[in-house]
Protein backbone atom coordinates (compact mmCIF):
# COMPACT_ATOMS: atom_id res chain seq x y z
CA UNK A 1 0.00 0.00 0.00
CA UNK A 2 2.91 2.36 0.71
CA UNK A 3 4.18 1.85 -2.83
CA UNK A 4 0.77 2.48 -4.38
CA UNK A 5 0.15 5.57 -2.27
CA UNK A 6 3.59 6.98 -3.16
CA UNK A 7 2.78 6.40 -6.84
CA UNK A 8 -0.50 8.31 -6.41
CA UNK A 9 1.24 11.14 -4.52
CA UNK A 10 3.85 11.54 -7.27
CA UNK A 11 1.15 11.33 -9.93
CA UNK A 12 -1.02 14.07 -8.36
CA UNK A 13 2.03 16.26 -7.72
CA UNK A 14 3.05 15.86 -11.38
CA UNK A 15 -0.46 16.76 -12.56
CA UNK A 16 -0.40 19.84 -10.33
CA UNK A 17 2.92 20.93 -11.82
CA UNK A 18 1.55 20.37 -15.36
CA UNK A 19 -1.76 22.18 -14.71
CA UNK A 20 0.04 25.15 -13.15
CA UNK A 21 2.59 25.09 -16.03
CA UNK A 22 5.51 24.93 -13.63
CA UNK A 23 6.93 22.35 -16.04
CA UNK A 24 7.54 25.24 -18.46
CA UNK A 25 10.94 26.77 -17.62
CA UNK A 26 10.01 30.00 -19.44
CA UNK A 27 7.13 30.53 -17.01
CA UNK A 28 9.37 30.00 -13.98
CA UNK A 29 12.08 32.32 -15.35
CA UNK A 30 9.48 35.01 -16.10
CA UNK A 31 8.34 34.83 -12.47
CA UNK A 32 11.93 35.31 -11.35
CA UNK A 33 12.37 38.20 -13.81
CA UNK A 34 10.92 40.94 -11.62
CA UNK A 35 12.81 43.61 -13.57
CA UNK A 36 11.49 42.34 -16.92
CA UNK A 37 8.30 40.68 -18.18
CA UNK A 38 7.17 39.55 -14.75
CA UNK A 39 4.64 36.69 -14.65
CA UNK A 40 3.30 36.38 -11.08
CA UNK A 41 1.61 32.98 -11.69
CA UNK A 42 4.14 31.05 -9.56
CA UNK A 43 3.15 33.13 -6.55
CA UNK A 44 -0.38 31.71 -6.81
CA UNK A 45 0.97 28.18 -7.34
CA UNK A 46 3.02 28.40 -4.13
CA UNK A 47 0.16 30.19 -2.35
CA UNK A 48 -2.41 27.54 -3.31
CA UNK A 49 -0.01 24.73 -2.44
CA UNK A 50 1.07 26.17 0.92
CA UNK A 51 -2.46 26.97 2.12
CA UNK A 52 -3.74 23.50 1.13
CA UNK A 53 -0.75 21.80 2.76
CA UNK A 54 -0.98 23.94 5.90
CA UNK A 55 -4.65 23.07 6.44
CA UNK A 56 -4.02 19.39 5.67
CA UNK A 57 -0.98 19.13 7.95
CA UNK A 58 -2.93 20.77 10.81
CA UNK A 59 -5.70 18.16 10.40
CA UNK A 60 -3.10 15.37 10.39
CA UNK A 61 -1.60 16.56 13.68
CA UNK A 62 -4.33 14.71 15.55
CA UNK A 63 -3.20 11.37 14.12
CA UNK A 64 -0.67 9.30 16.01
CA UNK A 65 0.51 7.40 12.91
CA UNK A 66 0.18 7.50 9.13
CA UNK A 67 -2.13 5.07 7.31
CA UNK A 68 0.50 2.69 5.93
CA UNK A 69 3.63 3.34 7.99
CA UNK A 70 4.50 3.07 11.68
CA UNK A 71 5.51 6.66 12.39
CA UNK A 72 5.59 10.13 10.89
CA UNK A 73 9.03 11.14 9.62
CA UNK A 74 9.26 14.89 10.06
CA UNK A 75 12.39 17.04 9.97
CA UNK A 76 13.57 17.82 13.49
CA UNK A 77 16.38 20.30 12.79
CA UNK A 78 15.73 23.90 13.80
CA UNK A 79 19.23 25.33 13.47
CA UNK A 80 19.92 27.86 10.70
CA UNK A 81 23.44 26.79 9.72
CA UNK A 82 25.80 27.57 6.86
CA UNK A 83 24.80 24.35 5.06
CA UNK A 84 21.20 25.51 4.81
CA UNK A 85 22.12 29.00 3.63
CA UNK A 86 24.89 28.02 1.18
CA UNK A 87 22.85 25.08 -0.13
CA UNK A 88 19.73 27.19 -0.70
CA UNK A 89 21.79 29.97 -2.31
CA UNK A 90 23.47 27.55 -4.77
CA UNK A 91 20.14 25.84 -5.47
CA UNK A 92 18.66 29.25 -6.34
CA UNK A 93 21.47 30.05 -8.79
CA UNK A 94 20.86 26.73 -10.57
CA UNK A 95 17.10 27.30 -10.55
CA UNK A 96 17.58 30.78 -12.02
CA UNK A 97 19.96 29.52 -14.73
CA UNK A 98 17.68 26.81 -16.12
CA UNK A 99 14.20 27.57 -14.81
CA UNK A 100 14.07 23.96 -13.63
CA UNK A 101 13.87 22.43 -10.17
CA UNK A 102 13.71 18.71 -9.30
CA UNK A 103 9.90 18.21 -9.39
CA UNK A 104 9.19 19.67 -12.84
CA UNK A 105 12.39 18.14 -14.28
CA UNK A 106 11.49 14.58 -13.18
CA UNK A 107 7.86 15.12 -14.29
CA UNK A 108 9.15 15.95 -17.78
CA UNK A 109 11.53 13.03 -18.14
CA UNK A 110 9.38 10.87 -20.45
CA UNK A 111 8.32 13.81 -22.64
CA UNK A 112 11.73 15.36 -22.39
CA UNK A 113 14.09 16.88 -24.86
CA UNK A 114 17.84 16.32 -24.52
CA UNK A 115 18.17 19.42 -22.31
CA UNK A 116 15.99 17.92 -19.55
CA UNK A 117 17.94 14.66 -19.66
CA UNK A 118 21.25 16.54 -19.32
CA UNK A 119 19.77 18.60 -16.45
CA UNK A 120 18.61 15.49 -14.55
CA UNK A 121 21.89 13.63 -15.08
CA UNK A 122 23.84 16.67 -13.84
CA UNK A 123 21.44 17.06 -10.89
CA UNK A 124 22.00 13.45 -9.79
CA UNK A 125 25.76 13.94 -10.19
CA UNK A 126 25.54 17.10 -8.03
CA UNK A 127 23.64 15.15 -5.36
CA UNK A 128 26.26 12.40 -5.47
CA UNK A 129 29.13 14.91 -5.09
CA UNK A 130 27.38 16.45 -2.08
CA UNK A 131 27.11 13.02 -0.48
CA UNK A 132 30.84 12.30 -1.06
CA UNK A 133 31.84 15.63 0.49
CA UNK A 134 29.49 15.39 3.46
CA UNK A 135 30.33 11.79 4.40
Amino acid sequence: MQILSALIAGFVLGLGLLVSQMTNPAKVLNFLDVAGIWDPSLLLVIGGAVVTTLVGFQLLKKRSAPLFADVFHLPTKTEIDYRLLVGAALFGVGWGLGGLCPGPAVTSILIANLGIVVFIAAMIFGMWIERQITN
Binding site: I3, S5, Q21, G56, A69, F91, V93, W95, I129, E130
Partner: protein, 145 residues
Protein backbone atom coordinates in the same frame (compact mmCIF):
# COMPACT_ATOMS: atom_id res chain seq x y z
CA UNK B 1 18.71 37.29 -26.20
CA UNK B 2 15.22 35.93 -26.92
CA UNK B 3 12.89 36.03 -23.93
CA UNK B 4 9.60 34.17 -24.47
CA UNK B 5 6.65 35.99 -22.94
CA UNK B 6 4.15 34.02 -20.83
CA UNK B 7 0.67 35.07 -19.79
CA UNK B 8 -0.45 35.48 -16.19
CA UNK B 9 -2.63 32.41 -15.58
CA UNK B 10 -4.18 32.84 -12.11
CA UNK B 11 -6.82 30.11 -12.29
CA UNK B 12 -4.63 27.26 -13.55
CA UNK B 13 -1.87 28.42 -11.17
CA UNK B 14 -4.19 28.20 -8.16
CA UNK B 15 -5.74 24.91 -9.29
CA UNK B 16 -2.31 23.36 -9.88
CA UNK B 17 -1.09 24.72 -6.54
CA UNK B 18 -4.00 23.11 -4.69
CA UNK B 19 -3.22 19.77 -6.41
CA UNK B 20 0.43 20.06 -5.34
CA UNK B 21 -0.80 20.66 -1.78
CA UNK B 22 -3.17 17.68 -1.90
CA UNK B 23 -0.31 15.46 -3.08
CA UNK B 24 1.85 16.61 -0.16
CA UNK B 25 -0.96 16.04 2.37
CA UNK B 26 -1.73 12.60 0.92
CA UNK B 27 1.93 11.56 1.05
CA UNK B 28 2.20 12.59 4.70
CA UNK B 29 -1.11 10.90 5.57
CA UNK B 30 -0.30 7.65 3.75
CA UNK B 31 3.47 7.26 4.15
CA UNK B 32 4.25 9.69 6.97
CA UNK B 33 6.81 11.48 4.85
CA UNK B 34 7.44 14.95 3.48
CA UNK B 35 6.99 15.21 -0.30
CA UNK B 36 10.37 16.74 -1.07
CA UNK B 37 11.41 15.77 -4.58
CA UNK B 38 15.16 16.40 -4.15
CA UNK B 39 15.28 14.11 -1.12
CA UNK B 40 13.21 11.46 -2.88
CA UNK B 41 15.43 11.53 -6.00
CA UNK B 42 18.64 11.42 -3.95
CA UNK B 43 17.23 8.32 -2.22
CA UNK B 44 17.56 6.55 -5.58
CA UNK B 45 21.33 6.99 -5.65
CA UNK B 46 23.18 3.92 -4.28
CA UNK B 47 23.94 2.96 -1.56
CA UNK B 48 20.21 2.85 -0.94
CA UNK B 49 18.57 3.83 2.30
CA UNK B 50 15.39 2.11 3.51
CA UNK B 51 12.29 3.25 1.66
CA UNK B 52 13.86 3.08 -1.79
CA UNK B 53 10.69 1.40 -3.15
CA UNK B 54 8.56 4.32 -1.97
CA UNK B 55 11.00 6.78 -3.58
CA UNK B 56 10.95 4.86 -6.84
CA UNK B 57 7.13 4.72 -6.88
CA UNK B 58 6.91 8.46 -6.21
CA UNK B 59 9.28 9.23 -9.10
CA UNK B 60 7.35 6.84 -11.36
CA UNK B 61 4.12 8.67 -10.46
CA UNK B 62 5.69 11.99 -11.44
CA UNK B 63 7.03 10.58 -14.71
CA UNK B 64 3.72 9.06 -15.87
CA UNK B 65 1.62 12.13 -15.02
CA UNK B 66 2.15 13.80 -18.46
CA UNK B 67 0.60 10.73 -20.12
CA UNK B 68 -2.66 11.22 -18.18
CA UNK B 69 -2.47 14.97 -18.69
CA UNK B 70 -2.19 14.58 -22.45
CA UNK B 71 -5.65 12.93 -22.55
CA UNK B 72 -7.30 16.27 -21.73
CA UNK B 73 -7.86 18.95 -24.36
CA UNK B 74 -4.87 21.24 -24.56
CA UNK B 75 -2.95 18.67 -22.59
CA UNK B 76 0.33 19.06 -24.39
CA UNK B 77 2.61 20.68 -21.85
CA UNK B 78 4.36 23.69 -23.27
CA UNK B 79 8.10 23.77 -22.62
CA UNK B 80 10.23 26.67 -23.71
CA UNK B 81 13.76 26.44 -22.42
CA UNK B 82 17.39 27.06 -23.17
CA UNK B 83 18.99 24.74 -25.72
CA UNK B 84 22.44 25.37 -24.24
CA UNK B 85 23.39 21.98 -22.80
CA UNK B 86 26.40 23.39 -20.90
CA UNK B 87 24.14 25.87 -19.14
CA UNK B 88 21.58 23.16 -18.32
CA UNK B 89 24.34 20.86 -17.05
CA UNK B 90 25.70 23.60 -14.77
CA UNK B 91 22.16 24.41 -13.62
CA UNK B 92 21.48 20.73 -12.84
CA UNK B 93 24.71 20.35 -10.84
CA UNK B 94 23.94 23.45 -8.76
CA UNK B 95 20.34 22.33 -8.18
CA UNK B 96 21.42 18.82 -7.17
CA UNK B 97 24.33 19.87 -4.96
CA UNK B 98 22.53 22.86 -3.41
CA UNK B 99 19.30 21.03 -2.67
CA UNK B 100 21.13 18.28 -0.76
CA UNK B 101 23.45 20.64 1.10
CA UNK B 102 20.45 22.76 2.06
CA UNK B 103 18.24 19.69 2.75
CA UNK B 104 15.45 20.64 0.37
CA UNK B 105 14.16 22.27 -2.78
CA UNK B 106 11.03 24.05 -3.94
CA UNK B 107 8.72 21.23 -2.83
CA UNK B 108 10.37 20.30 0.47
CA UNK B 109 11.21 23.79 1.75
CA UNK B 110 9.00 25.99 -0.45
CA UNK B 111 5.73 24.09 -0.02
CA UNK B 112 5.93 21.54 2.82
CA UNK B 113 8.39 23.43 5.02
CA UNK B 114 6.56 26.74 4.86
CA UNK B 115 3.27 24.90 5.52
CA UNK B 116 4.87 23.40 8.67
CA UNK B 117 5.90 26.98 9.58
CA UNK B 118 9.52 25.83 9.82
CA UNK B 119 11.96 28.73 10.15
CA UNK B 120 14.65 26.75 8.35
CA UNK B 121 12.39 26.33 5.33
CA UNK B 122 11.14 29.91 5.36
CA UNK B 123 14.74 31.20 5.39
CA UNK B 124 15.85 28.65 2.77
CA UNK B 125 12.97 29.67 0.47
CA UNK B 126 13.69 33.40 0.82
CA UNK B 127 17.37 32.64 0.10
CA UNK B 128 16.83 30.55 -3.03
CA UNK B 129 14.17 32.85 -4.49
CA UNK B 130 16.53 35.80 -3.94
CA UNK B 131 19.57 34.14 -5.58
CA UNK B 132 17.37 32.83 -8.43
CA UNK B 133 16.00 36.33 -9.07
CA UNK B 134 19.53 37.76 -8.94
CA UNK B 135 20.72 35.08 -11.40
CA UNK B 136 17.90 35.89 -13.84
CA UNK B 137 18.69 39.60 -13.49
CA UNK B 138 22.34 38.98 -14.36
CA UNK B 139 21.66 36.59 -17.26
CA UNK B 140 18.78 38.58 -18.80
CA UNK B 141 19.56 42.20 -18.04
CA UNK B 142 23.33 42.41 -17.60
CA UNK B 143 24.89 39.71 -19.80
CA UNK B 144 22.08 38.99 -22.24
CA UNK B 145 20.49 42.46 -22.26
Amino acid sequence: MYIPATEFTPLSALAGGVMIGLAAVWFLLSSGRIAGVSGIVSGLIPPFSPGVGVNLAFVAGLAISPIAYSVFPGGTPEQTMSSNLWLLGAAGMLVGFGSRLGSGCTSGHGVCGIARLSWRSIIATITFVATAMATVYVTRHMIGG
